[in-house]
Symmetry: C2
Subunit: 305 residues, 2 copies
């Protein structure tokens, strides 16, 4: 079998090395605070692992356990606290729309997860800088950004093309259209030039910049193709279905496909390596590297003269 | 029976008269645009009725039917269009979190429904002005505001108390804790001094400013009382359950209660008038008056020197 299996740790390594070096050379001590306001034991485990990973690169991570009814005020305090450079919240807290309200309470200056409206708006509109002088790059949500970095690493992004157009000619299916990962990811990839089929239980949409990338940002079109049809057309298939039982049949995949899974469950069948040219079974370690990268970027913006 | 039934039209009348007079005296022509991006025939009917109601007071209302995948760009255009003073969207469009994203795309300067984060944050935090000079009052969401105006009209607000504290001593149950109506309403009433029991299927919460209103804004506390217990304690019971079959048993109500229903379905039993001192069966006409009132306020802010 010629399938190359790429682990997230391999992709994360150079980013982690660069983060460590930047932190050491500048002699800084960036601090990230994570708020836990639910009883999710998985979140505690994930937070402990984040703390350990951050410590290795020189980032201080503090987990603050709070009552959910005090969460908003605790976030407001952290927004004001100059010793804190980044803030994240372990969702779900209340679930649904009230959580999205909390996402906007986090100051954009400290929003390492890029869940506030301003960053999301910029991302959907392919606005890449926060300032007209283009000195401050926008913050991108960690998991979608991790997927982009992985696709760059495995050569799906073509460096011969101009920056911003490097997925031109690529067809990508993303199975998941959540507001937190699937939809921003589809938009990012389409803004970079891909034709993206965005799949969820309500149907399939196409995200793309038109023939010859004539549009500056992607547009969204309803699509009457089936999952079988779009997967058969796709050079890259990305899965993020949060259920253990979901398996995308290998038989649907194009031979030589790049298969990437960002769900915590394995969404591809075991024999995916029989058909894929490249298989990335998980992205978590790159996601945490991107979290730290966003933190360093926000630290830099906060401390500029 | 001594129950006084108060119709929304009666409460709305003086507001409508005032709106008409302001528009005539100033010789202005405020314009509200409503975006319809779903196939909901009820929304079309409601929009036609809004147009008629607005026309009577001198407000121009234009319904724009758009494809949901173009909605965001159409809203961005309307944000920039100086001939438009207010923007509203008929939800649901995509449902869930993507709709909340769209709510934040509407410019705060034109957000007649007060669904953007800035206004919601101010409301929860009991911040009543947009500017430090206190020349621009915040915009409050229409249905919660309509309920406040009705409670003022029926004397639940006590004018002998200071502005901002006029519900001190009142206990109110609100059955509905949606992000669009129930939760903001509970917060508004608690910020005005009431002790509020906020009820939804996930449980009951208490919103209040503490003993003697020692807090400047409400806090939220989990509550282990049952619906039967909180309703029995309540001077005012407000229902907003969006299902036809739901009926709050009259037997639970305190004698002399003020009963107010903002659901499109009748949430009280027919015999509620046997027990209530005041019964308000619906709020829709006051809601539309508040929509126009918000529009006039935004028009004023937009056209100030």
């Amino acid at each position: 079998m010629s399938c190359k299996k790429v682990l997230a740790s391999e992709v994360a390594a150079p980013f982690r090395q660069e983060l460590k070096q930047t932190i050491q050379e500048k002699g800084i001590r960036p601090k990230l605070v994570g708020f836990l306001a639910n009883d999710d034991p998985a979140a505690v485990m994930y937070a402990n692992w984040t703390a350990k990973t951050c410590a290795e690169t020189g980032v201080e991570f503090e987990l603050r356990k709070v009552d959910r009814n005090n969460l908003e005020e605790c976030v407001v305090e952290a927004n004001e606290d100059k010793s804190i450079h980044g803030i994240m919240v372990y969702y779900p807290v209340f679930g649904g729309n009230q959580d999205q309200y909390i996402q906007n309470v986090v100051s954009p200056r400290k929003d390492v997860e890029s869940l506030c409206h301003q960053y999301r708006y910029n991302m959907y509109h392919n606005i890449r800088y926060l300032d007209p002088e283009e000195s401050q790059k926008c913050i991108i949500p960690c998991t979608p950004l991790a997927v982009v970095k992985i696709l760059e690493y495995v050569g799906v992004y073509n460096k011969i093309l101009n920056y911003g157009d490097r997925l031109h000619g690529k067809t990508i299916t993303v199975i998941n259209r959540s507001e937190v990962v699937g939809r921003p990811l589809a938009a990012l990839l389409a803004n970079d030039g891909a034709k993206v089929f965005s799949v969820d239980v309500t149907g399939i949409q196409e995200f793309h910049r038109g023939q010859g990338l004539k549009l500056k940002k992607h547009e969204v079109f309803e699509c009457d193709k089936t999952l079988e049809e779009v997967v058969a057309l796709s050079d890259v298939v990305i899965t993020g279905v949060p259920t253990k039982s979901y398996k995308l049949p290998t038989s649907l995949l194009k031979d030589g496909v790049v298969a990437l899974n960002f769900s915590t469950f394995k969404n591809f069948e075991d024999d995916v390596t029989d058909k894929a040219s490249i298989y990335i079974p998980s992205v978590g370690k790159v996601t945490v590297a991107m979290l730290e990268r966003n933190l360093i970027r926000l630290y830099d913006y906060q401390t500029r003269a």
